[in-house]
Amino acid sequence: MTDCPNGLMRDLLPEYARGVLGADDAARVAEHLDACAMCRAELALLGRVQDGLALGVPRMNVAAIVGALPKPQPVVRVMPRRGVSRHVWQYAAAAGLVLAVGGGIVWRRAPETGAVRVADSSHVAAAAGAESTQSTASVQSEHGITFGGGLSDLSLNDLQALLGQMDSVRTLPSTDPESMTPVIMNEGGKTL
């Protein structure tokens, strides 16, 4: 078998035979093959070598191999979602403001279900007050929770009584903080 003098085409033949050439190169090789018996003979030889090397090679059992592989381990970290907590605190601060300015009026005017919501607000505001809200209004909810000024004004007994009364509030705030949400992260700490 004589070698074709076109080294570039000969070099591309194995990739052409495996079908891994890009479309442009494949078209150029096909065109050359039409006109070159030497490259056609070499291409046929490449096919025989491929067949010869593949012969007797056992068929791989994909399922068995996959069954032996380690399981993927995406890193799972439980962390609070910042957006949710900010939302809750914004709500609490707003509720505190409502209580400070005219909570009592709203409470008196509200229909029955609305009264519950004001009571809810005082519940949240009581919590918020410990953080940031300096409430100066005197508020009494339907559950009898009463305080004026900040929580710092309350005695230990007052606080215990307040906590006991809060425990009796059965209606939860409508913006109950969402549960902790697992955030899946990859190894690099990037949120997926």
Binding site: L53, M60, V62, P72
Partner: protein
Amino acid sequence: MSESSREGDAQVDVALITRWQRGDQRAATEIVERHAQALARFAATHGVRDGVDDLVQDTFVRAFHSIDNFRSDSSLRTWLFTILKRLVLDRQRAERRSRNQVELDEGHAVQEFNALDGMVADEALLRVQQAVGRLSPLQREVFTLRVTEGMPYSEIAKMVDSTEGACRVHYHNAMRAVKEYLSDEGVPER
């Protein structure tokens, strides 16, 4: 040289790896389906006669355990071949040790390759195997990677720790040797 087809393949592999890392086990099946048979062929050209399945499985297990080390500057298949090649060398070393043999020279290595003797029904294909088996280990590796996988010289060079130019020379020398062997033997060309 156009790389479009190969680059597309590489992107598919990278996407599959990412899917697997995120917990999609079906991606592992696709990866194995894409490369298992090529690994088996590669093992055969390295003279592995028995336990090809185990060897290929070990290769994948090792690869998946250290998939974070895979760098997409070479193809996934090249990386898998490199792992398999290391396992083959380890296995051959262990076998030699157990047989208390001295290091095999290249002449022995050629005999090693005749893994499929007696298993080949087609005489012409057996001749082809013998022709390839007579190549030096380096020539044989370059030649078979080029012919059976269509691997570019740049990737082959990484695998055999050589240069693209040297690999091109090895390939063409191997091709000449195979042609000469087959014409000497008077094997009709199909």
